[in-house]
């Protein structure tokens, strides 16, 4: 029962992008095309899942026994940065197309606050290993879902007749705001 509530809240009701407002940078930046949105989502999912496993293990087996819990933020940033570097090396060698398509946004996953946010929430919510894994996979899946929906909407908006002052980012921000209202059950 607990796992089901974690899945639904992580995916929809407490979506990282639209209710916690984490990871807005890639949400606005990479959502111009559906293909980019999907590849960004998959990379974020990979980084979030791997870094959650590593940071959870480090926290419970290294920081708690040595009573150095105050180090968690610094240590987690370190782990995330290294993982993104690792991902970049691998993508550059074996998936050159995805690497070129993501461009600057790939190293920017390091500073994507959604990643650090999910990792820290795992610790703050006192999840056990299974719950942590479910929460991080579903949260990143929620990120991918939202960024995909948003990119399909933006593709349609680009082809429609938008008033001149709203063209580009303004209309995207308004769309995001309406989406956020829907996701946080205000409408």
């Amino acid at each position: 029962m607990n796992l089901i509530s974690i899945v639904t809240s992580a995916l929809l009701t407490e979506n990282v992008v639209l209710t916690k407002f984490l990871g807005i940078c890639p949400f606005m930046g990479v959502s111009t095309k559906r293909r980019n949105a999907i590849s960004m989502g998959i990379s974020v999912m990979l980084v979030v899942t791997l870094s959650s496993i590593i940071t959870w293990t480090l926290y419970h087996f290294l920081l708690v026994p040595t009573k150095t819990e105050y180090l968690k933020t610094v240590l987690f940033v370190l782990v995330i940065a290294s993982l993104v570097q690792l991902l970049e090396i691998i993508l550059k060698r074996y998936f050159k197309q995805i690497h070129d398509m993501l461009g600057l946004y790939l190293p920017l996953i390091t500073t994507n606050c959604a990643v650090l946010g999910i990792v820290l929430l795992n610790i703050n919510n006192d999840y056990n290993f299974i719950e942590m894994l479910t929460y991080s996979i579903c949260s990143s899946l929620g990120f991918t879902l939202v960024i995909y929906i948003f990119s399909s909407m933006r593709e349609k908006i680009n082809n429609s007749d938008v008033p001149q002052p709203f063209k580009g980012h303004p209309i995207a921000l308004i769309t995001a705001a309406i989406m956020a209202l829907l996701f946080s059950r205000y409408v």
């Binding site: 480090l58 150095t68 782990v79 290294s82």
Partner: protein
Amino acid sequence: MIGIVILTGTALVLGTILVIVDLTINKKDEREEEFLKRLPGYNCGTCGYGSCSGMACEMCKNIDAYKKCRPLRGDKLKEMEEYLENLKKD
């Protein structure tokens, strides 16, 4: 004190992993070093690749790139052309 040790230790481990992965995945072209030895080494940048190592890297993709090197003259140029001919024969 223990905090510093933990942070440094983790950084060291992660850094080592990154270096090992980078070295195993991106194997350096062996020719690059040989090219670099035969270039003048002034790092003047007139070729447009920034430095002699940049030129050596470019030569791995396009073997004729050495023609853009202006200080490469006389004996050095002969040496480079001989080496390139030997490479083609192999």
